[in-house]
Symmetry: C2
Subunit: 510 residues, 2 copies
């Protein structure tokens, strides 16, 4: 219709221009342009966010006003943001930072860094996919599509939702759908359209009726050509000069993991601790626990040099090889928990009337997003926030642990606020902390490290009003102190660990 | 410019139509329509994928051809797919499935199901966000925006990339940007535009110059109003009757966790096993390991009733409370590993010349996406695939374990293919398996369960050509067999566990 109108209108103008011969060229040109009679238009070919808008010459066919308009608008479009993530740049090590490089013997540095770079590459491969590419909806496109894409199970055909084409009237319509890591099919056929490329990665649909095109588009299925539990594909959807790209997430459904909680605290929480040469303190702790919680299971990880049997109802003692260390013990403890939550206590703590585990459970159950909530040891309500910059490929990131840094309070719990790390008296979701883990490589110098490894994985809160006591005599044990006091070797190895494991350039302890 | 052309063209046609007086009304009408002079249009208000397209009447102003065309096209738009995920429906328990309900005492069923439903609700809260809503790009919109959205750090201002508005010429342009869980700011001001709502969740930008609008839009920052490590917001971007919605991911960067691997196998792999009353077999296994791997660390989880010391270089024995069970032991073992990979073996296996750990490591390093690779025990290369339907809220899902089910081969490794589970001789990424864990609740009847819990989390492969031997005499130990043979109680509790933990209605073992 529109084309027809143009022809009539054009014919009319031409007749008139001859008949009267009083037309200024500018008039004619203006009229022609307004009616979309033009031979020189430019359109971007791709709708991926690419900085350099690459242009191609339009074809010779008469373009409708609408298309011309779109193209005119587009050609005036400023460049999109880069399609690849911004270039990495070195991060800044704040004043007082420890340069981790200084803890590595110069002769080992080169090799260690190469090895670390290789691991980093693998890590990036595991944590990014084609879907990490930023995509942009271009203005004035006749195409409709799912902008966040949709999720398919690997190897299973799935209908692509929300595809549509809404152009002006034409004699014939043709849309092309392309994917790169799967195949396309039409599940419901029709005789009114020509379909090419079924079972391949490029599907072409052509028809004189737009509603037939759209009917067909609502029946196109995607099947990933490969098995993967967490990957993706990018689909390109095209009509004439308009092209859009949308994501397809290829994901295996995860099996839900739920915990069974009863009404009594012992079906909800397990208390875990780690002991080393401190049986008097440990037994005092246990007695204090039993004053308030008679049947809660207590798990003891014991790496004493000459282990002594610790017995009692609902007490599980695990004997480790001698002096395996703090985090090995914590990780062992967590590995044996069968309740939804566990409470971490040091072996020289002391339960008091303010050691209200129920309070912790209440907060965790009220706010399911939480993974860990800490209290106070005596009057010490320690907490901190972390500042992390990824840094560049070569040198790695910068980390700053800021003591007493925290975020806003918990909705409904003004006595609690969010933070990145808390004191070594906390209740946590067993599965969440298992996912992060207490790195058994950390033997003597370790506490904040689990919160560093857990940054971005653990939602951490600190609450006032719940506290545990501390046995005053815990520092008197000579033999214990000999091991307890971290040697220079431990400090060095911890910094080397941050260098290799966390891809860090420096750490600042504030 | 465009308007001007229209005016000139219109003027010219009108003059001519008067001058000659030979115009058919249809001509004039056609010309007018071609130029977009019309008064009756309708447009949808919202671009969220909603089934019922709600329409509002356009205003009386003269609409350009482009807008008219868009609106005309839109009103003919078929409904979009539903914005909420499709209704859940009961899954089908295949022939031979075990109905888990049958393993639960009737008097407990009601309460157990309610408790399970509560946990399920929490699980859904933890695993979904506002971003789970499907969004669609509507055709012929003048707006440009990031379709997959972009990621911001909680509480940190971030520029919104790729926003733009490309409408035809008007006297004045006005765009509105709305968010619900954060605030908006303009980081670079200009006097040529009116900006309202800075520091609030609704930002209005108005100007007579489109390039000024676009310049401003490229300088709008979003700051989440709350701290969360993995949440999101939806932004609504509006120009006149055109409205689009795009996602904003609020995510805390995760700390990278890398492993340090040396060149020798003992810096790459730890062998872990679990023993119970089978010291002769265990010692035979250790001897066979040492024939081929003299220094690889061996971790032994021991829950024997009367533990005996097992010693030797690079051997770590952990003494558990008596008969804690298989998975408690496996989980303990994994919790103590400090290498990137671990190899799982039963205590009655026997290393042979075909027990090539290096081969496993080679495959894992070549394909970083892999989490676990299995071999064969003697001639038995066991593997399976899983079929899981989520099912409905009330009854839960259906699971089918299909023996010898597998997916395609590994690129570059024709002797390996992907599967969901393998035999109990495998090499795995330590961190990946820790994330899934061996559920310590499973005491005697357990192997496939770790792969069930790990469905969607573990990329599993099975390779031929790497095998371990099996000690023929391992079944002779009377006392062992007494414990080894699972009692009815174990089977019942395992099915109860699937009911509560995995939210399953039935399991089929094929």
């Amino acid at each position: 219709m529109v084309i027809l109108r143009h022809k009539l209108q054009l014919a009319f103008i031409v007749i008139v221009s001859i008949a009267l011969g009083l037309l200024l060229p500018s008039f004619y040109k203006a009229a022609n342009q307004a009616m979309g009679i033009s031979k020189d238009v430019s359109t971007p070919k791709i709708s991926l966010g690419n900085t350099d808008a690459s242009f191609t010459r339009g074809d010779e066919k008469m373009l409708t006003h609408n298309s011309l308009q779109r193209q005119h608008l587009r050609s005036s479009r400023p460049p999109l943001p880069p399609s690849s993530p911004p270039q990495t740049h070195p991060c800044t090590c704040g004043k007082g930072s420890k340069l981790l490089k200084d803890f590595i013997p110069p002769e080992q540095y080169e090799e260690l860094q190469q090895q670390r770079a290789k691991e980093w590459k693998q890590y990036k491969e595991r944590t990014t996919s084609v879907l990490s590419k930023p995509l942009y909806a271009l203005p004035n496109s006749p195409l409709q599509y799912p902008i966040q894409g949709f999720t398919v199970q690997p190897l299973q055909p799935t209908l692509i939702p929300g595809l549509g084409m809404y152009a002006e009237t034409r004699n014939s319509y043709k849309v092309v759908l392309k994917v790169s890591r799967g195949i396309l099919n039409v599940v419901k056929k029709t005789t009114e359209a020509t379909v090419e490329g079924e079972g391949s990665s490029t599907l072409t649909v052509e028809s004189s009726k737009p509603h037939v095109i759209n009917e067909l588009l609502s029946n196109v299925s995607y099947t990933s050509a490969f098995y993967h539990i967490n990957s993706g594909d990018l689909a390109t959807f095209q009509f004439e000069d308009d092209e859009v790209v949308f994501p397809i997430a290829i994901k295996r459904t995860q099996m839900p993991i739920l915990y069974k909680m009863g009404k009594d605290i012992s079906s909800q929480v397990t208390i875990i601790t780690k002991t080393f040469l401190r049986y008097p303190q440990l037994n005092k702790l246990i007695d204090s626990i039993r004053l308030f919680y008679t049947s809660v299971k207590i798990i003891i990880a014991d790496d004493s040099i000459e282990p002594q049997k610790v017995s009692g109802d609902n007490i599980e003692q695990y004997i480790m090889p001698p002096s395996q260390g703090w985090f090995a013990g914590r990780n062992l403890g967590v590995s044996q928990v069968t309740t939804k939550y566990f409470l971490w206590v040091d072996d020289d703590f002391l339960f008091t009337k303010d050691t209200k585990i129920e309070k912790f459970v209440e907060v965790m159950e009220a706010i399911p997003d939480l993974d860990l909530v800490g209290g106070s040891v005596k009057e010490n309500r320690f907490y901190f926030s972390l500042f992390y910059e990824e840094g560049d490929e070569e040198e790695g990131g910068c980390l700053y642990r800021k003591s007493h840094g925290h975020f806003h309070t918990l909705p409904g719990y003004p006595e609690c606020f969010l933070a990145d790390g808390v004191v070594n008296f906390f209740l946590a979701r067993t599965d969440s902390v298992r996912k992060v883990g207490f790195d058994p490589k950390l033997q003597r110098v370790a506490h904040s490290e689990v919160f560093m490894d857990g940054m971005g994985s653990l939602m951490v809160a600190s609450c006032s009003g719940v506290s545990v006591g501390h046995q005053s005599n815990s520092k008197t044990n000579k033999e214990y102190m000999k091991f307890r006091k971290p040697g220079e070797k431990d400090k060095v190895s911890k910094n080397q660990l941050h260098f290799s494991k966390n891809y860090l350039k420096c750490v600042k302890w504030g």
